[in-house]
Amino acid sequence: MADTMSIADYLARGGVLSNPENVPPRYRAELMRLMATFVDSEMAGSAGFADIINEAPGIAERIAAARIVLEKADHAGRVLAVMAEFGADTAKYATHQPWTARLARDADIGPTRSGGDMRLSVFHYPLEGWLDAVVMNVLMGRAVTVQLAEFSRVSYQPLAEAFRAILPVETRHAELGEEGLRKLLEDGALEAAQASVDYWWPRVAASFGAADSTRLDQQRDFGLRHRSNAELLADWRADTAALLAEMGLRAPG
């Protein structure tokens, strides 16, 4: 056994990095991209949900929505703090995109990003009222849980730790969505809820990224990914379809 090995070998064999000092350039770029995607998505998600607070039908719902807005902003801040160690300007970053901006409801952008805004494509679509926001939160909440379980294993330890702290809170957000949806269904909103599910299902699915992502092998070698987009998407489909079926809703195709 040699005394040292290259960082690439170290990472490929499951090694963990803990500060910006030893991070190779390409790893740094992939890591920054991963973090920017998360931060932008949380900022946009929080901003979009902020408007929904005032549409909440009751005090408990109002509190749940406000809590989601608050905690998603907090999660963005935690990951932005990791980015800051690499030189990102956090004060500028927090305001450099119009986080509330949304496209038209019927825009069809697939999984594409827009300009420098790294939010997942699903966060470019507008929420239409309380029920729609609740359904989106249920579907996306489950997706975030699957994605964060994957990202909690990234080889950059400070980020893995941030994600491990964030995961249970995001899981709770998804549960709050489920509680809200069950209440709406009890009040007879089945048809409207199904229409929302039909709208959000393909858009949330697209947030898992391309099935044939060319960067996956590189990300795997870096220990930044372990499972493929397709595997994560399959988990989400199975898990969420079962949840919907149990509520009397149907997962599209």
């Binding site: 056994m1 040699a2 005394d3 040292t4 090995m5 960082i7 070998d9 170290y10 064999r13 499951g14 090694g15 963990v16 990095l17 803990s18 500060n19 000092e21 030893n22 350039p25 390409r26 740094r28 770029a29 992939e30 920054m32 991209r33 920017a36 995607t37 980015m83 160690e85 690499f86 030189g87 990102a88 300007d89 500028k92 970053y93 450099h96 995109q97 300009g115 420098g116 790294m118 294993r153 330890q157 400070p158 893995a160 730790e161 491990r164 060319t214 960067r215 590189q218």
Partner: protein
Amino acid sequence: MARFHPLTVTDVQKTIRDAVVVTLEPDDPAAFAFLPGQYLTFRHDFDGEELRRSYSICAGLDDGLLQVGIKRVEGGAFSTWANEALQPGDRLEAMAPMGNFHTALAPDAARHYLGFAGGSGITPVLSIVRSVLAREPKSRFTLVYANRAVNTIMFREELEDLKNSYLGRLNVIHILEAGGEEIDLFTGRVDAAKCAQLFRLWIDVEGADMAFICGPEPMMLGIAQALREHGMSDAQIKFELFASAQPGRLKRRAVSAAAQSQGNTCAATITLDGAVQNFTMPKDGQSVLEAAIAADMDAPFACKAGVCSTCRARVLEGEVEMIANHALEDYEVERGYVLTCQCYPLSDRLVVDYDQ
């Protein structure tokens, strides 16, 4: 943004032949409040070129001192200078303490910590050992410390003193590559097999709460593997990797000939992931990043606003104008680093490398 603060060297002590412990007095002590296991990043000018190096704090929280350990690395400009020329009274500059190699301490906690250090990897671990023993009276610490030979053991006496001051709470297991111990268990390299032996005969991993590992890459991999096999989760294992991978003296960037503009296009050569592409790009209207992407290169980017630094690359030849820069520091810019999303060519020829 990162800022440097001045400090005065008050003491330089040799611990072993090629390592010193440097005691520092900051002008602004508040800027240097630290967590055990964190490091300081120093900058120093060598013949007109600024070098930055990070060294871990070895003092404990309650030692009332700011101390770092600096082991001389073969060919390392900073560590050689620190070992051979640094004296009390010298002034240094460092950034506020950074790093995540620590865990929150609680006075009531009764934990069992494991530490694994290879060579100078002891430095941050020693800070954690000292702080745990002082701040958590019910906790204990088991340290596995790997070295080549007895005379290369940094902080050997300090560790003995700690064992005596905190009787029964600190257990130090020295593993030497050669000589020293007669017993096989305590001789050789610390790899997965050695750990498996230690965990079977000597260390109760199942009863341990947290492990800290700092050493060369292969050692860290072997230990982490053994710890996981004994039931530790990733959240319980903290890593710090420094020592072996720090490069020596940086080569000075070749000074480019005065760029002479001839037309409105630029012949660009861009390296990304080891592959080189040549293409012609306009001098305005398209950033270097956009041109690389237009040439089907998977160039890295995120914010496209000069904020996140994802698209950083190094200009090896030619000149660019960087419109905005909110992420790179002066010393990086001096070395030729740019944010390619904000860069437009000025010269007729441009060579950019994303891999540096």
